[in-house]
Symmetry: C2
Subunit: 151 residues, 2 copies
DNA sequence: TTGCTTGCAAAGTATTTGCACCGGA
DNA sequence: TCCGGTGCAAATACTTTGCAAGCAA
């Protein structure tokens, strides 16, 4: 939509737009949800529910509410869930109009995360889908290794 | 090794070889471990600890022991762990001499699994590792979609 | 007002661990 | 014999859910 300029380089949109997206989903922009959105908006990498909850220090917000907010936001496609293979869910804000699909390079020692904005599997994925008769195929891909500081 | 013929097409090796691999790791081939190995050997796709435990019906074996066996086998590189994004660990037997690296195509509706034996990311992975100064880089990749029967 | 939301507590599920006893090598 | 392995039960960790009260629209 014809949103004007934006003064910050946070990933995703501004609060007003986020509120709008919520309303379109027949949801309310409540205090706790604003906090969760703010927390995600200030994060460069996927955050765990616990990390988000901790970042809300001061503001009272139950951890269960963080989980519920993430569920709502996820259903509306406003946040994307990632799995780093440790059984803990991580979430990242998705920019309006995008699908949030991308990958990460994670240091197995210090947990540093590098965002990989390009996805190089479209062709391969299409080939696999066709070869096996599958449809609506997507994929999850994450890279792991030792970052420069940890080698 | 000069193993003779084998009469089954289970993935991985036979019990004798598996026992040998365990001993080389200074571990014992106990009853429960045999059961876990047998269960994995008869599975074509990654199994959850619970599924493995259930497949041991009749033979008494604690679920905790299944977890501990899988840990040992995993440390010895005899089984490979996979994550299908639902927070449940799944394990597959690795053939001797192989690293077990491969991927899956999973139906999001009926959970049917297709084994994808080829890995097509070597070049891309190398490029990403170099570009970010990472070393010993690996990756986890799984495809999801609707299988022919579920479309 | 109305129905979505929240806090709090309890329940669920997956996985790990302490400990005394048991059994392969 | 000896040390690793096992069953059992309890403990962790992450996530979900029931319920009565609260608040955005």
């Amino acid at each position: 939509m014809g949103t004007g300029h934006q003064h910050c380089q946070h990933r995703g949109a501004n609060l007003a737009e986020l509120a709008d997206r919520l309303r379109r989903g027949a949801r309310k922009l409540t205090g706790p949800r604003q906090l969760v959105l703010e927390s995600l908006r200030h994060s460069r990498h996927p955050q765990t529910p616990k990390e988000i909850h901790a970042a809300l220090a001061g503001q009272p917000c139950d951890l269960a509410t963080v989980y519920r907010s993430l569920k709502v936001l996820s259903d509306l496609g406003m946040v994307q869930r990632f799995d780093f293979g440790d059984g803990i869910a991580r979430f990242e804000l998705v920019a309006e109009g995008r699908d949030g699909h991308h990958h990460h390079l994670i240091c197995t020692r210090c947990a540093r995360v590098v965002e990989l904005d390009e996805c190089f599997l479209d062709e391969i994925q299409q080939r696999i889908a066709t070869a096996n008769g599958f449809r609506a195929v997507t994929h999850k891909l994450e890279f792991f290794g030792l970052c420069p500081d940890c080698q």
